[in-house]
């Protein structure tokens, strides 16, 4: 069970996150939604142990993650928003590095990495330098690296970024499968259709504050909207999207 209690974070006294609380358990997929600058990435960094909150605590299986951060990190698989990888390593070498840093045996690394590279159609490119990879290929390597040590908690930050249609479909099925395997999944994304399909619960964030937290169905019912996208728009939209689009077109065609 992943539990965040009253998380707040300020950067040089500018609040990025204010009093955010949630909990999600094994087999659940928690969607984390919000416009740019709403505090999503800050939350992800706190949950993965990369950042300490200004106040509040994160618990995993009832234990404060800061009490044994190294032990907690062993249980977490993380796909960051940006695919920052070492360009001079090959995809397979990167997975070897991650596996070794996590203390996995060579046999296990080779077996798991080999199988997942095959599944994600990366096998022919496994010995190619990452500098020659496309964005989608890098994203697939990140996904494999996050799953390599069979983590209990998975934190996905915009995992579909750059993935082609087939890989995105595989990923969606993968998330459902991992949820059936009783993994706890924290899913941060802008792609609301996917969030609606794969997440059991969602949190909506705006300007660092928690606007809504509940199941997808509850959110739609509460907002009296047919889809998550419509409910989300109603919650966070500060300006009329249609009017904004018209204004942009006017600017483009103006002499």
């Amino acid at each position: 069970m992943l539990e965040a209690r009253s998380l707040s974070k300020s950067y040089s006294s500018v609040p990025a996150l204010e009093n955010v609380s949630f909990a999600t358990g094994p087999g659940e997929v928690l969607g984390y939604l919000g416009p740019n600058g709403s505090g999503k990435s800050t939350t992800v960094k706190i949950i993965t142990g990369l950042l300490e909150p200004s106040s509040g605590k994160v618990f995993f299986n009832g234990q404060n993650i800061q009490d044994d951060l190294a032990g907690y990190k062993r249980l977490v698989g993380y796909v960051p928003e940006e695919a920052n990888l070492y360009p001079f390593l090959s995809g397979f070498e990167y997975l070897q590095l991650v596996g070794r840093l996590r203390g996995l045996s060579e046999t296990l690394i080779t077996r798991r990495a080999g199988a997942m590279l095959e599944m994600f159609s990366m096998k022919p490119h496994r010995h190619t330098a990452i500098s020659a990879y496309s964005k989608g290929m890098r994203q697939r390597i990140l996904l494999i690296a996050a799953l390599l040590h069979n983590p209990k908690l998975l934190v996905f930050d915009e995992p579909l970024s750059g993935l082609d249609v087939v890989s995105a479909m595989i990923f969606r099925k993968l998330v459902s499968g991992l949820s059936r395997e009783r993994k706890t999944i924290f899913y941060c994304s802008h792609v609301l259709e996917v969030v609606e399909k794969v997440c059991s619960h969602v949190i909506v964030l705006q300007k660092g504050k928690q606007l809504a937290y509940g199941s997808v169905e509850d959110l739609k019912r509460f907002q009296e909207m047919p889809s998550l996208e419509a409910a989300f728009s109603r919650l966070v939209q500060e300006e009329d999207a249609e009017a904004s689009a018209e204004a942009i077109i006017d600017a483009v065609i103006s002499q």
Partner: protein, 522 residues
């Protein structure tokens, strides 16, 4: 400003942006700092020459028949070498910017600008940069050096004549360096298969850095210390480019260096014109064939060599950075290039110590320069309780790099033992308080004391190595002396290792201590 002017300005700005092709921020210094740093050797060297050319000091020394023009030839040679080295190093360091890269393609190819104009703007920007640097490096010496040389003459005509000859020699040498390297890149691009170009260019750059530094450092040591031209300008030396450009200063056979300069310009422009379209087309193709090329070389890593998978991961990562990351390969090459010069003519007993010194200090320095720092998050999220500690991993890495050299020379077992103990002690000393994984720490190199560091390094080599060799020679004269020294070194090694630092946290951010601390009273 015209679009072409904007384009030139854009390329000039990119040359100082400190971003590599991956978009990763690398060491970037402001233009002012770079210009001040490059101008200082020429200015300092000029000031040192006052001692040599001062008529008052010559009088006190009793030098009645001092010919300043004859004596100035050796010093002019130094300024020519300095000029060529600086221009050459700037070109080698900006090698990847000699041709527009993938990012330029993304941003400029979609604009209504002919490809020819893009390349011409890039070429012009590089040329301007080379001229600015050449003027900057030689500005002080162009005034001071002729003033000192013509001090005894006392006429303006003599000053302007010498200054003109000096400026012509150093500037044409700089331009030759610029065009020669440009021609080399163009030719390499034309003749090498695309998939091998990167590897070939890294090798060529490393060789060039080593060659330029060897030339420069050997010149400083041989010439400034003895006041003579290297090797009394033997037959072979007369064909070295700096000797050719010395002819311009001497006013004898200036057509030869000018022909060489002309040839380098023609070859550079021809190679550039031939390959620019091909290069740009290749960029477009490379975007469609992502993942198709650049297979990495794999090497075995037997498990028994490592104490844990963690160590295996960190060690192999470090090795790959050293062998594959361009910046690290170049820096290590430069460091070892200086070592190569220093080792020339050194006593056999001192050679293992000198190699150990350069490897230990060089690797320790390079460990602090991060490789793709944005990617170090994986170490942050995967780092559990590291076993062994980063210090133990770095220690073993350095030992593996240094110890094979200790047994490579035909020395007695006592000498080899002492060399190993000295090296191990050196490793312990440079690793005190080390809590980083090599190449993952985001550190800002402290460039403010770079000159002091370089001078410190040279002084250390000139003083420390002879002293240690002397001690070693003393110890090798009898068994009890050897035993005493070995025991003392063993004790010092044990003391230097200190307590275990298992509980020390890993460091991923390393900032030099602030010169001023703000008092947060609010």
């Amino acid at each position: 400003m015209t679009p072409f002017g904007h384009l030139i300005f854009h390329f000039l700005k990119r040359m100082f942006s400190g971003e590599d092709e991956e978009g990763v921020e690398s060491m970037s210094l402001g233009l002012g700092v770079v210009l001040a740093f490059l101008a200082s050797p020429g200015a300092l060297a000029s000031l040192f020459l006052l001692d040599k050319y001062s008529t008052l000091l010559q009088f006190f020394r009793g030098q009645r028949h001092f010919d300043p023009y004859r004596a100035s030839i050796a010093d002019e040679y130094f300024f020519i070498v300095l000029s060529m080295t600086v221009t050459g190093l700037v070109m080698v360091l900006r090698w990847n910017r000699l041709f527009p890269d993938r990012r330029d393609f993304w941003n400029l190819a979609v604009l209504p600008i002919p490809i020819r104009q893009v390349f011409l703007a890039n070429f012009t920007a590089l040329f301007l940069l080379a001229v600015i640097f050449a003027i900057d490096v030689n500005a002080v010496s162009t005034v001071l050096f002729p003033a000192f040389v013509t001090m005894s003459d006392g006429s303006f005509a003599a000053f302007f004549r010498t200054a003109g000859a000096h400026a012509a020699a150093v500037l044409s040498a700089s331009l030759f360096s610029f065009f020669a390297i440009f021609a080399l890149v163009g030719i390499l691009m034309l003749v090498s298969p695309p998939r091998w170009f990167r590897n070939i260019s890294v090798a060529a750059r490393t060789v060039l850095v080593v060659a330029l530094l060897v030339e420069f450092v050997s010149n400083i040591f041989v010439q400034l210390l003895s006041g003579r031209l290297p090797g009394h300008a033997g037959d072979y030396a007369r064909f070295l480019p700096p000797f050719l450009f010395l002819r311009i200063y001497r006013g004898v056979g200036a057509s030869v260096p000018l022909t060489a300069l002309g040839a380098s310009i023609v070859i550079a422009v021809a190679a550039y014109s031939l390959c620019y379209r091909r290069h740009f087309l290749r960029l477009a193709e490379s975007l469609d064939t992502l993942g198709a090329g650049r297979h990495v070389t794999r090497f075995p890593s037997p498990g028994w060599l490592f104490r844990s998978q963690w160590e295996r991961g960190c060690t192999l990562f470090s090795l790959k950075v050293l062998l594959r990351n361009e910046r690290h390969v170049l820096l290590l090459g430069a460091y070892l290039g200086i070592g190569l010069v220093m080792s020339a003519g050194v006593d056999l007993l001192a050679l293992p110590l000198l190699i150990a010194f350069f490897l230990i200090s060089g690797l320790r320095f390079i460990f602090d320069i991060p490789a793709t720092v944005a990617a170090n998050w994986i170490f942050r999220v995967a780092a559990g309780v590291p076993h062994p500690t980063p210090r133990a991993i770095a220690r073993r890495f350095l030992l593996f790099a240094v110890l094979p050299w200790q047994i490579a020379f035909p020395l007695s077992w006592q000498a080899v033992t002492l060399d190993m103990l000295f090296s191990a002690l050196g490793i312990e000393l440079v690793l005190r308080g080390y809590r980083k994984i090599a190449f993952t720490c985001n550190s800002k190199p402290d460039t403010s004391q770079m000159v002091i560091r370089v001078v410190g390094l040279i002084v250390t080599i000139l003083v420390l190595i002879p002293v240690l060799t002397g001690i070693e020679r003393w110890a090798l004269q009898s068994l009890w002396r050897f035993g005493t020294l070995a025991f003392s070194l063993g004790g010092a090694l044990w003391a230097a290792r200190g307590k275990s630092d298992e509980d020390e946290p890993l460091v991923f951010e390393d900032r030099p201590a602030a010169a001023f601390e703000l008092l947060k009273l609010a």
